[in-house]
Amino acid sequence: MTQSEIIEALLAFIDQDDASEAAFERMALAVFAYQFAHNAPYRRFAIQRGRTTLTVRSWRDIPAVPISAFKTLTLSCTPPEAAERIFMTSGTTQGGVRGKSHHPTMAVWSRSMLVNFRRRFMAGRERIAMGILFPDDVAMPNSSLAHYLALAKQECGTPDSEGFIGADGLDLPRLIAALERAQESGEPYALLGASFSFVHLLDALAAQGRRFALPEGSRILDTGGFKGQSREMTPDAFYDALSAALGVPREACINMYGMTELSTQFYDNGNAVCPPVKSGPHWIRSRVVDPVSGRDLPEGVTGVLVHHDLAHFNCASAILTEDAGVMVEGGFRLLGRVDGADSKGCSVAVEEFLRAARG
């Protein structure tokens, strides 16, 4: 298939209501064949793993690239300089080396994001007043999260939606004014942003002794964890605090799980109980594998998550994450990052060594 054919096929696939296992498999094999043909480093990787278009029969056989590969290899089916946009990881691990995903067009990424976002976060509404706790995509053109939130605001936010993180960080007075207006208006309000920004907000509100009771139907979307940018909180403490400070019940606090190395996001249906079940739309499927052998683990056994995201058509659709998870009915539970273990004995392990090397 050519690039335009694969894009057309994917847009049509996303627009379907659902997809059977067989339909997903057909599309996955087509995308694999496309990537195998046009993405030279991925082809080398696949051959090294003994997987070619001849030997891969099922979507589960498609070799998953470890996300660390996005840091060392240019995984793109098209010349990287021709990309409409390049998303990069924050570079917080591996001493500032950033993983890159090239997007020759944003059409598939945006369709994937919006169809899924409407389904999972908007709860049937066309638009909602939004407050964004993250820099916009002008300030951070290579951040997939900045772009995600900008798209959400543009396509699903009311005209008075606004961002509250500027060059000087959180603009608290303006945010408090917006929350006051929302509280008085009686119209549902949505706060979306990085998990650590919510911690900063919680701390600032606590310092002022402020609490809000946002109108019924208000929602919160957090993502990304704390990443050393704020103090760490347990999920239960985090959602309890959000709920208490903003008056949004934990069931309406949605956590989005997304990655620079994907073009599709996962959501839960609220965080009344943690960790909640996460799931994605019909064009992404996940597996939990033994990272050493790459083999699937049975439901209920903890392993490492592999995602097959058909929308990530230009790079590598199958990726091996560094996230621990367990398959359950209706999706998977996310159990945090697997950073590589510290030594069980007294030999120095990679993580400690790297920490020391970074100083």
Binding site: A69, T72, V292, C346, S347, A349, E352
Partner: protein
């Protein structure tokens, strides 16, 4: 199966709160009860141990202590002894190491603590071990006596069985009232050893305690740190830094951080006859305790120019690891460890795409991984758990510069080279920070009396009391028989 960890002389077991740790491996489960002492109980136990050591242990001649330790070790070496049978049955489940590895590892290790070897420990640090029993004439004049701490606290870490015994035995040899905190990953052997000592000499059993608290529990830790006058601690640098912050300034703190071991193989060791057996020894060093020991090799530097090339040698090591994994399968890895192994392997694979010289040997699903690099690389950790990088160098002279950036983590290096080369390269390695140079096959079995991390096992623990000549002369003036 339920086991109880610890040794708490003077504390009625019924008054102690116990927490249960669950272990499972090789299709079996064991629950280990570990004591959770209150601050008051910790204080009472410390007082008891300190007092018993003062009134009993300090009065024992060191030769008698050696005899008692020897008798206790003999029981752990005797495969028919109930304690030994228990160790062989339970430790594989707790640590995950396979039965044969535990059996062989224990026997090899415990041999270092028989009476002749204990005498070696003493002789290594004291020209005259009798200084531990009483005042002995000093070379400079006057008299000297060496005394161990009143209360010596050990904070052990890791799942390598018996690692705790090294410092525990050293403390008892210098007659220290001893409290050891066992690691959650292997909470049993130290307590068993204390109980064996108590069976042999009940009064000696009152002079040592084995306790537990959750690693990093600042409150429990502080209670004990405030009691001890000397602290020996094992762990990663973060854990050690946290402990050091809580150690009273008046106490002596002896940390043992994590280390990285490596090996060097000269061209002369790589003829067709020697390369095979050498590869087998390398594989044994790698497989022993799944590279969790501070002495375990994580990287191998192999010189070019031998009949067997570095690349061929890497393949032989890979084959030996394959053979070894049939007899001694790798212990089951937790998700984080497995992810670490996979990440290390795939990083090297990716490197192989960019550089021609890097090859990952074997299959992803194998219970070991060898990476060969044709280009010299600085020393760096592997993913442990039978993962090894083998790097070709033009000559062993290149190695000191490749390892010296990791100076703070260096300890053991195995060398296969001719005698002249050995001493020449040993001097360079010593400059780079290496403190132990051994042969392949012996990396995981340091000899008795080894100076761990280049320090003194016993001397670092003691305090000297000196009678100067002036005091002697003054006393002479006061003798009843003075003229």
């Amino acid at each position: 199966m339920i086991e109880t960890a610890g040794h708490l002389p003077g504390l009625p077991a019924g008054e102690v709160a116990w927490r249960t740790l669950d272990f499972s491996a090789w299709g079996e489960r064991v629950q280990v009860r570990v004591p959770e002492l209150t601050a008051a109980q910790a204080g009472a136990l410390a007082g008891h141990v300190r007092e018993q050591a003062r009134t009993y242990l300090r009065t024992l001649p060191v030769a008698q202590i050696v005899a008692t330790l020897d008798a206790a070790i003999a029981r752990l070496l005797d495969r028919d002894d109930p304690w030994r049978r228990r160790a062989e049955a339970v430790l594989p489940i707790v640590t995950g190491y396979d039965r044969e590895s535990v059996r062989l590892g224990l026997s090899g290790y415990l041999r270092s603590f028989r009476a002749p070897q204990l005498q070696r420990f003493l002789a290594e640090d004291f020209a005259n071990p009798a200084v531990l029993d009483g005042f002995q004439p000093a070379m400079k004049g006057g008299f000297t006596r060496a005394q161990g701490p009143q209360l010596l606290l050990h904070i052990w870490a890791g799942n390598v069985p018996g690692l705790s015994l090294w410092s525990l035995i050293c403390g008892v040899l210098v007659k220290a009232g001893t409290v050891g905190k066992v690691a959650s990953a292997e909470p049993l052997l130290a307590g068993w050893f204390a109980q064996i000592l108590a069976e042999i000499d009940p009064q000696l059993g009152e002079c040592l305690a084995v306790v537990w608290w959750k690693g990093g529990d600042a409150e429990a830790e502080r209670a004990w740190l405030n009691q001890a006058d000397t602290i020996v601690a094992y762990g990663g640098n973060d854990a050690l830094a946290a402990i050091r912050e809580r150690v009273p300034v008046t106490a002596r703190f002896l940390p043992h951080g994590h280390r990285i071991g490596f090996g060097l193989i000269g061209a002369e060791a790589l003829d067709t006859r020697r390369a095979g057996p050498l590869a087998r020894l390398v594989a044994q060093d790698v497989a022993r305790w799944e590279q969790q020991g501070c002495y375990s090799p994580q990287m191998l530097f192999v010189a070019r120019g031998g009949a067997v090339s570095p690349r061929e040698f890497a393949e032989r090591v890979s084959q030996e690891l394959g053979a070894l994994s049939l007899r001694h399968p790798r212990r089951a890895l937790c998700v984080a460890e497995a992810a670490g192994v996979a990440a290390w392997r795939s990083r090297e694979e990716m490197r192989g795409f960019d550089e021609d010289g890097t090859v990952v040997l074997g299959e992803a699903g194998d219970g070991w991984s060898v990476v060969f690099s044709d280009a010299a690389q600085p020393l760096a950790p592997s993913a442990l758990n039978r993962t090894l990088k083998i790097v070709a160098v033009d000559s062993l002279d290149a190695v000191p510069a490749l390892v010296s950036p990791s100076r703070a983590y260096l300890q053991t290096a195995a060398v296969a080279a001719s005698p002249r080369e050995l001493f020449r390269i040993a001097a360079l390695l010593g400059d780079a920070g290496v403190t132990r140079i051994c042969g392949f096959g012996a990396m995981a079995a340091p000899e008795a009396g080894w100076h761990n991390d280049g320090r003194f096992n016993l001397l670092d623990l003691v305090r000297l009391t000196e009678i100067e000549q002036s005091a002697e002369r003054a006393a002479d003036d006061l003798a009843p028989y003075v003229d």
